[in-house]
């Protein structure tokens, strides 16, 4: 029977190899060995994915590897989560994020990078895709009990829809319920302030940093 350290090493390796099946298998091994699932997430997966996030920031790995690593982690965490639920517990998520590119804008890579980086850093991410109607962000956030709404826009013409989402939240009296972060090529801190967004992410790494730093505000 493998030791705990060997199992954690296998879990780390599955992330470094971007291998979904291996991540799920390593997680099952951890459960079978009776390891604490919450500890297994941290010791097995989280460190490895954080390292990959840093490697991505240094451009030593690229978007496909980051997405594959995030998918592998998802597969492994799913197994551990089932074990936690079976024992009556609940895996603490860092935060639940509803993410998408705003209405009229079909650019998807920017928000995909942000989604992968957030997942890599322990957030539960629900990617709504591109050209997402303003009302859909709010509907999804309500349905998924999200903490954070992340709005991407690549065009100066479509970034106006970020303002619409904020306006709709205010109209519904939900502006204090969700932490709204905006980003995209034409978006600035000044724009974020002007429309009343809670935060601005210059790029994916920055978005993670901002959300981590301001956890007290979105975990309300």
């Amino acid at each position: 029977m493998a030791t705990a350290d060997e199992i954690y090493a296998g879990m780390r390796n599955s992330i470094q190899e971007y291998d979904e099946a291996a991540a799920a298998a390593a997680a099952r091994e951890a459960v079978a060995a009776g390891l604490n699932p919450v500890e297994a997430v941290e010791k097995g997966f989280a460190g490895a994915i954080r390292e990959l996030g840093q490697a991505f920031d240094r451009m030593e790995i690229f978007l496909p590897q980051l997405v594959m690593a995030a998918d592998a982690m998802k597969a492994g965490v799913r197994v551990l989560e089932e074990a936690i639920q079976a024992s009556g517990g609940k895996l603490e998520k860092k935060g639940v994020v509803v993410l998408g590119t705003v209405e009229g804008d079909i650019h998807d890579i920017g928000k995909t990078v942000v989604g992968a980086m957030l997942q890599a850093n322990g957030y539960e991410v629900h990617d709504l895709g591109v050209d997402v109607p303003s009302t859909r962000f709010i509907q999804a956030a309500e349905e998924l009990n999200a903490n954070i709404i992340a709005l991407s826009a690549l065009l100066s013409t479509t970034m106006l829809h970020q303002r619409d989402v904020l306006g709709l939240l205010r109209n519904k009296g939900l502006q204090d319920k969700y932490f709204v972060i905006v980003g995209g090529a034409p978006v600035t801190q000044q724009w974020a302030d002007e429309i009343g967004a809670d935060a601005y992410g210059l790029h994916a790494v920055e978005a993670v940093k901002v959300l981590d730093q301001r956890q007290a505000e979105w975990a309300r």
């Binding site: 690229f62 978007l63 594959m68 079909i106 065009l155 013409t157 600035t188």
Partner: protein, 454 residues
């Protein structure tokens, strides 16, 4: 290939999720082909001098395109092409495209590597946000620059009559009409009534409302389409292409490969770029614009983009007769010396590599009127001078220029500069003394570095 066959395949090709297309076809394909064809960046080179690698990059790009096709984002189907169709498409891609009218009628042509012929210059506001109050004057100031061969993207109108324009709205159709009227008025005022206007009003179908032989954009004006990264097209782009092709406009097809994205580093992304040149032709493009994007930087003059721009341009210039132009966006803003350092570096990298020129403009985020017609003049002058240089000669100047701005590549680090209305006297449409002095100082410095101005 006939566009009607392309749009048919957008309805009948294999169904696939976008993520599967990008990960399984594009990303996996690049990883395999990059290894197979030995496409590697050494981490230092800014201007590629390796002809064999350029040829291998082209072959890898062609193989990639045959494996990927183009993803139709709305129908979620893949538009696939056979090897015979690609060869046929490349064979019949135009090597020359005429545009403009009367005395301003002109031709953009394919350029070879180290081609002594002058590059064609698409210059103008380049989709900067332009306020309605200065729209005509700004475009007139660009059109009066005689080295500009076609007025490029007269600017995004974000507001009209004090209201914010929502894309696709009735107000945006009115903005599109005014865009055509005002752009035509601007070139008339500059005394160049037939100057080609390369149009791209908003990314929406109602942009076609700016079309009019009498007052707007004409059949002789190229119209811009944008493929989405990587190798994707949406219904609006295909519809606009179909309309403009039917109307008889030259089709200016842009693509924006992302360094650090699905193609990986600058070397893998060069393979995606080679595939995208072919995709642009197969999707109806006649003039193909490469505008490399970067996962960390918003501008196109960083080391990765310089290398990618040179390698991808050489790949296509050596192996096809596709007409190529490269976009130039910078971190530095007009009114700063960094702005011309950056666009000069990229122009010197891509003109000897076989490209024509598009730009310049600061990268997003942009303020209103964040462009300078005088700097467009310098851009054209540098481009013309670059046609006298070999890649090796140009490379040493590019390296010297890159040293000047390499630590100021982000919006926050770069000098902020000033908008058009502060760089020009709006009554006389001439640069301020300070702006003129900056132009002269930088031009002298470029000449000292070895740029052979006439």
């Amino acid at each position: 290939m006939n566009l009607k066959e392309v749009v048919k395949r957008a309805e009948t090709g294999p169904l696939m999720e976008a993520n599967d297309f990008l990960m399984k076809r594009v990303a996996a394909g690049v990883i395999k082909l990059q290894k197979e064809y030995g496409i590697r960046w050494d981490g230092k080179t800014l201007v590629n001098l390796d002809d064999e690698m350029a040829d291998r990059c082209w072959e890898a790009g062609k193989q990639l395109f045959l494996q990927t096709g183009v993803y139709s984002m709305n129908s979620r189907r893949v538009i696939e092409f056979s090897a015979e169709e690609v060869e046929h498409g490349l064979r019949f891609a135009p090597a020359r495209v005429a545009m403009g009218q009367g005395k301003e009628a002109t031709v953009v042509h394919h350029r070879r590597v180290e081609d002594p012929r002058l590059p064609f210059v698409f210059g103008g506001p380049f989709n900067a946000d332009v306020h309605e109050s200065t729209f005509v004057k700004l475009n007139e100031a660009f059109a009066q620059e005689r080295l500009i061969d076609a007025l490029l993207f007269p600017g995004y109108l974000k507001e009209l009559d004090g209201l914010t324009i929502r894309p696709g709205s009735g107000l945006s159709s009115r903005a599109a009409v005014l865009y055509g009227q005002w752009a035509r008025e601007a070139v008339r005022r500059a005394g160049r009534p037939g100057l080609a206007i390369c149009g791209h009003a908003v990314m929406a179908l109602n942009e076609i409302a700016c079309t009019s032989e009498e007052w707007g954009l004409r059949q002789s004006d190229p119209r811009a389409m944008v493929l989405i990264s990587e190798l994707q097209a949406d219904d609006v782009t295909m519809s606009r292409t179909m309309y403009y092709q039917g109307y008889g406009c030259p089709i200016y097809m842009a693509f924006t490969p992302l360094v650090g994205g699905y193609g990986g580093g600058p070397d893998g992304t060069a393979i995606v770029a080679a595939a995208s040149f072919i995709a642009a032709i197969m999707m109806g493009g006649e003039i193909v614009h490469i505008g490399p994007q970067h996962i960390k930087y918003k501008q196109q003059t960083n080391n990765h983009s310089l290398f990618l721009g040179s390698l991808a341009n050489q790949a296509v210039a050596r192996n096809s007769h596709i007409i190529v132009t490269t976009s130039h966006t910078t971190a530095g803003r007009p009114g700063s010396a960094q702005y011309p350092y950056e666009f000069s570096a990229l122009a010197l990298a891509v003109v000897p590599s076989g490209s024509n020129l598009t730009g310049p403009r600061p990268a997003e985020p942009l303020g209103y009127n964040d462009v300078s017609p005088l700097m467009a003049r310098l851009f054209a002058e540098v481009g013309h001078a670059a046609a006298k240089l070999t890649r090796a000669q140009a490379a040493s100047i590019v390296e010297a220029l890159y040293e000047k701005y390499k630590d100021k590549l982000t919006f926050q680090q770069a000098p902020q500069g000033r908008p058009f209305q502060e760089l020009y006297d709006l009554d006389t449409l001439t640069p301020t003394g300070e702006h003129q002095a900056l132009y002269e100082e930088v031009k002298e410095e470029l000449a000292r570095l070895g740029v052979p101005f006439s």
